[in-house]
Amino acid sequence: MDLLVGQVFTGLSTGSILLLAALGLSLTFGQMGVINMAHGEFIMAGCYTAYVTQQLVGDAGASLLIALPVGFLVGGAMGLILEAVLIRHLYHRPLDTLLVTFGVGLVLQQVARDVFGAPAVNVTVPEALRGGVDLLGTTVPKTRLFILALAVVAVTAVTLVLRFTPAGRRIRAVVGNRDLAETAGISSRAVDAGTFFIGSGLAGVAGVALTLIGSTSPTTGQSYLVDAFLVVVAGGMGRIKGAVVAAVALGTFQAVFETYSTASLAKVGVFIVIVVFLQLRPQGLFTLRTRSLA
C-alpha cells in the first residue's frame, strides 16, 4: 500500500515536472506547429534567473516568489526575440526551423557557460519548502508538492486564458483558420508573437521551479526537451488536456518502471511505449486540427 501510494505520488510529481516543461511547448509546438529546439534553453534561462535572483535578493523565499514572474518575462522575451528574428521567416519550413533553433540552443548553452561557468550551480531551497509532509503513510518532499501545485496553477491559467480572454480567442482563431482570422481583422503576426511569448515564458517559469529539485548547468534544459516534445505529441497536438494526461501517464509509468529497473532503462521503456502508442494512434490522445503540421 505504502509503496503504491509512494509510486502514484512520484508519478504525479514526475508528471507535473514534465507538464511544466511541456506546457509552453504545447502552445508553440502544439498550437503553432513550430519545432523550437531552443525551448530547453528557455527552461535553462529560467533556472539561471532563479539563481541570479537569489544572488541579488538573498532570502530564498522572497527570491523564489520574485523569480517566478521574472523567469516568465525572461523566457518570454527570449522567445519573442527568437520569433521575430528567425522563426517568423521560417513558418511552414519545419526542418529549417528545427535546425536553426537547435543552433540557437547551442549558442545559448555556450553563452550560459561563458557567463555562469560550466559547473552546476545550486539554488537554496526556501525554509518553508524543506523537509516533507506525511501523506497516507509516505513522506512527500514539500518541493515536489510545490511543483505539483505550480503545474496545476499554470495549466489552469493557460486554459482560462485560451478559453475566456480576447487574446485566447484570437490564438484559437488563428490556429483554427489563419486566413479567415486575417480577413476578420486579426493580425496573425501579432498573435504568433504573443503566443510565442506566453509559451516561452512558461518555459522560464518551469526553469525557476526546477531549481528546487536539482542543480543548474548550461545543459539542464536539454535534458527536458525530448520529454517535453513527447508529452505534446502523445497528448495530441495543441490539446492542453492531452498534455496533462500524457504527462501524468508518462510520469507514473516512468516512476513505476524505475522501481523495478534503472532510470535509463525506464527512459527506454517510455520511448518504446510512446512509439508503439503513436503507431496505434498517430494523432495522439486527443485531436485538434493545427496548421503547418496538419
Binding site: A173, G176, E182, T183, A184, L288
Partner: protein, 235 residues
C-alpha cells in the same frame, strides 16, 4: 469605394486573373459573375489581401472620398480600412462557439456588445445558438454567422463570395433579402460574386462577367442585361 486597375493575380507564379478593371462606387452593389473556375474567388482573395497582386492596383476610398493604393497592405489592416469579407463556403472558426465567432471581431471595438446585438437582431436564429460550436451549425446558420461576423466590423465595403451557394432554399431567401436590405439602407458598398443570375442582376446596379480570368462583359443591370450575361458566360 473600390477601384481595380488592370489587376493580375494568381497562385505562385501562375496568373489566374488577368488585367481586370472594376469600379464600385459609394453605396453601389456590383455583381461579378462567371462559371466555376473563372477566377472570381481568386480576384476576391487578392482584393482582401490573401494573395499578392502581380500587377495593376487595388485602390480603396478613404472616408473623405480620396483613393489610396492598398496593394501591399496586410489583410487584417484592410478590415480596419473598411473592408469586410464573407468567403465562399460558409467559413467559420469551427472550434469556437458561434458566440465566440462574433466576440472575436467585437473584441476591442467600442460598443462591441451593441454591435453584436444589432447583428443578432438581423439574424434572430443565431441567438439560440451562441453556445454551440460553429462547426456543428448548418450551412445556412454558418453563413448567417459569417455575414454577422463581417458586419460587426462596420464595413464600408462588403465583399461576398457566392453567399447562397450550397444553402438550404428557405435560408437562401432570407440571406438574399438581407443583402438587398443592406444595400438599400445605404452607407455600404457591396461586391457580390454570384452564379445565381436572377438574384445578382436584381441586387446589383452593375455587373462584370469573368471568363478564364478576364472581364468578358461589363455593364449596367436592367434591360437586356440577362442576355448579355448569358452570352458572355457561354463558352
Amino acid at each position: 469605394m473600390l477601384r481595380l486597375r488592370n489587376l493580375t493575380c494568381g497562385y505562385g507564379r501562375t496568373p489566374v486573373v488577368h488585367d481586370v478593371s472594376l469600379d464600385i462606387g459609394a453605396d453601389e452593389v456590383v455583381a461579378v459573375m462567371g462559371h466555376n473556375g473563372a477566377g472570381k474567388t481568386t480576384l476576391l482573395r487578392a482584393v482582401v489581401g490573401l494573395i499578392p497582386v502581380m500587377s495593376g492596383t487595388i485602390e480603396l476610398a478613404r472616408p473623405d472620398g480620396t483613393y489610396e493604393t492598398i496593394n501591399r497592405r496586410p489583410a487584417n489592416r484592410r478590415v480596419k480600412a473598411g473592408m469586410a469579407y464573407v468567403p465562399q463556403g460558409q467559413q467559420c472558426f469551427a472550434h469556437l462557439t458561434a458566440g465566440e465567432n462574433l466576440r472575436l471581431v467585437a473584441d476591442g471595438r467600442r460598443h462591441g456588445k451593441t454591435l453584436i446585438d444589432t447583428q443578432l437582431d438581423r439574424f434572430p436564429a443565431l441567438r439560440g445558438l451562441l453556445n454551440r460550436q460553429a462547426g456543428l451549425l448548418s450551412g445556412g446558420q454558418r453563413q448567417q454567422l459569417a455575414i454577422a461576423r463581417a458586419l460587426i466590423t462596420e464595413p464600408r465595403l462588403l465583399i461576398l463570395d457566392e453567399p447562397t451557394e450550397g444553402i438550404q432554399p428557405n435560408v437562401v431567401a432570407e440571406i438574399e433579402s438581407t443583402i438587398v436590405d443592406l444595400a438599400r439602407d445605404g452607407g455600404l458598398s457591396v461586391l457580390l460574386v454570384e452564379q445565381h443570375l436572377g438574384f445578382a442582376l436584381q441586387a446589383a446596379a452593375r455587373f462584370s462577367v469573368l471568363r478564364s480570368g478576364r472581364v468578358a462583359s461589363t455593364g449596367a443591370t436592367g434591360d437586356g442585361a440577362v442576355e448579355r450575361v448569358r452570352e458572355a458566360m457561354a463558352i
